[in-house]
Amino acid sequence: MNIAVLSGKGGTGKTTVSTNLALALKANYIDCDVEEPNGFLFIKPEVDTEEKVMVEYPVIDDNKCKSCGACVNVCQFNALAKVKDDIMLFQKLCHGCGACQIACKYKAITYGEREIGKIEKGTARDINCSRGILNISEPMAVPVIRELLKNLSDGINLIDCPPGTSCNVVNALKYADSAILVTEPSEFGLHDLKMAVELVKMYNIPFGIVINKDDGKDNIVKKYCMEEKIPLIGTIPYGKDTAVLYSKGGVLYDDLHHKEIFNQLSKAAKEVLSWN
């Protein structure tokens, strides 16, 4: 059972919900917000394995290359350019699709590998934790996300997704059996939630909503859930105690009051996402 935790808007509490639900459910925690993974700051696992994530890029043999420009024309990602009698490569734009090698009549192109990030795995409080880290200045996160999610273990996996609805989230969702959408009762929160809902619906998987920083009132998100008939898994109240614990990098689940909230949420999630 792979549960994706996403939000649309950033900063609504994806990591808060996924780390604490992982503890409540004794599930595996996977941080695939590889551009800024922060779940480990709270769970603090001991990392025992580290793997590099590699991507391919073309290597042009100058002795064979006639600078005909066929590789430049075929590249869909603008990673190659022809300047005077030379072919220039913009490594970071290459998606490793292999088209330039096929297009080259002079067999001048082979592929090299370079590192764009890494995968870390470890344990904390008897749960398995893993995360992907994209190196600074690398524009392409998807290869790291794929590597992280391709061999998920059995049992319950909580996938802490990146914000937004970009390729990074689309790729993370490919590995999910159900989804939890975390939002806040603000106009921005609702606006981006709607986009996230549209995206999740394309996957035909069960999903529900968690409202973080809830004001306890009949707010715009609750109204939206009613109108759209989307199950509300539960709420996390807006409170200073939550913010104080969070600011210290503490685990909310260690606090009795919050423990109850997350136990409730995990019970409701099991019903909404209907798993056995």
Partner: protein
């Protein structure tokens, strides 16, 4: 001499587009023949590497000069290597841009502006 200008439209009354890689059109003015050629910027719809796509197009057209607002790091590197001179200008109408260029009032671009990654789409 061929001068390429990033533009918001197809005539000399239109404004210069401050963006290079994502501008809508390039107007190529041939100072010898007086001809104007309009190019749809292929970079505009590129998912990534817009500046490179735009540069490739202008290199193919064998332009001598580019006038735009800013050049990103990739486009800058490419244009510098291909020996094309790039000049900076504000978003004024194209006829005024040409006038300013003729009077030597434009500053040459010697450094790239910040990169705009459209995300890893």
């Amino acid at each position: 001499m061929k001068i390429a200008i990033s533009a918001t439209g197809k005539t000399i009354e239109n404004l210069l587009d401050m963006r290079f890689g994502r501008c809508e059109y390039f107007q190529i003015h041939d100072t010898e023949s007086g001809e104007i050629k309009i190019l749809d910027n292929k970079g505009q719809n590129a998912s990534g590497g817009a500046g490179i796509a735009a540069s490739n197009q202008l290199i193919d057209e064998k332009v001598d000069v580019i006038i735009t607002g800013n050049l990103g790091p990739n486009a800058f590197e490419l244009i510098e290597k291909s020996g094309i001179k790039a000049y900076k200008c504000g978003n004024i109408d194209i006829s005024s841009v040409l006038e300013k260029y003729k009077n030597g009032e434009l500053e040459e671009i010697k450094m790239s502006g910040p990169a705009h990654h459209g995300g890893s789409h």
